[in-house]
Symmetry: C2
Subunit: 146 residues, 2 copies
Amino acid sequence: MENIFTDEYFMKKALQEAEIAFEKDEIPVGAVIVANNTVIARAHNLTELLHDVTAHAEMQAITSAANFLGGKYLKGCTLYVTVEPCQMCAGALYWSQISKIVYGATDEKRGYLAMGTQIHPKTEVVSGVLAEECGALMISFFRKKR
Amino acid sequence: MENIFTDEYFMKKALQEAEIAFEKDEIPVGAVIVANNTVIARAHNLTELLHDVTAHAEMQAITSAANFLGGKYLKGCTLYVTVEPCQMCAGALYWSQISKIVYGATDEKRGYLAMGTQIHPKTEVVSGVLAEECGALMISFFRKKR
């Protein structure tokens, strides 16, 4: 039987979150955290609504997943996020010891790779999943803002 | 007239927060954010109590200060924190565009300097304020844990 729980499958869930952010006039980034093929946390960027630079999709998803699991470590979990994490989010993911990070579009200016942020040595990273769709939403948002 | 509002003055407030964390059996890090010589946010590490790796003193203080100010940027504000910020907290401070960061003890393993995290170009950093007291609290905590 074909495995339907692919990285694309869960990235689509993250994209749905990003679309909700877009509709709220937030920079459209969405994230979900998955454990045993089940979404245990979903979030989208809320920095404008909350007046809070820490309210990135990933940060909220980390807090929410840890709350669901009843412990602060996210070993065995995978984060799907539509855009490459920033320094702050990569730093939070480092502390969480999450097993896998899957992101869509690259952030060439403020992404963790460009900024030189360190990922936990036990964390696997996969990039470029639905990159075009994830990036298109960002481009469309900033075009609207101009 | 002598200015009582020195960096040491406000670091003592951050140390008080760190002591509260210590009493709660949390890694003893405390922070305050100051605007116009007034403390507008105070927080201490709560990662164990909240089961949340994002609940560092600095992160909570940033959220709290932005909430107080009604805007997400902390221009004109100073963060006092007893221990050098990590990647996550330095990343959050980057987004906040805070004017000044003052820290006490150095974190040679996981501090933002060792990890290579970038600070906002407009942010001034002062280190080593009450470093001995701030560091002694950490040493005492980890000695107790062994």
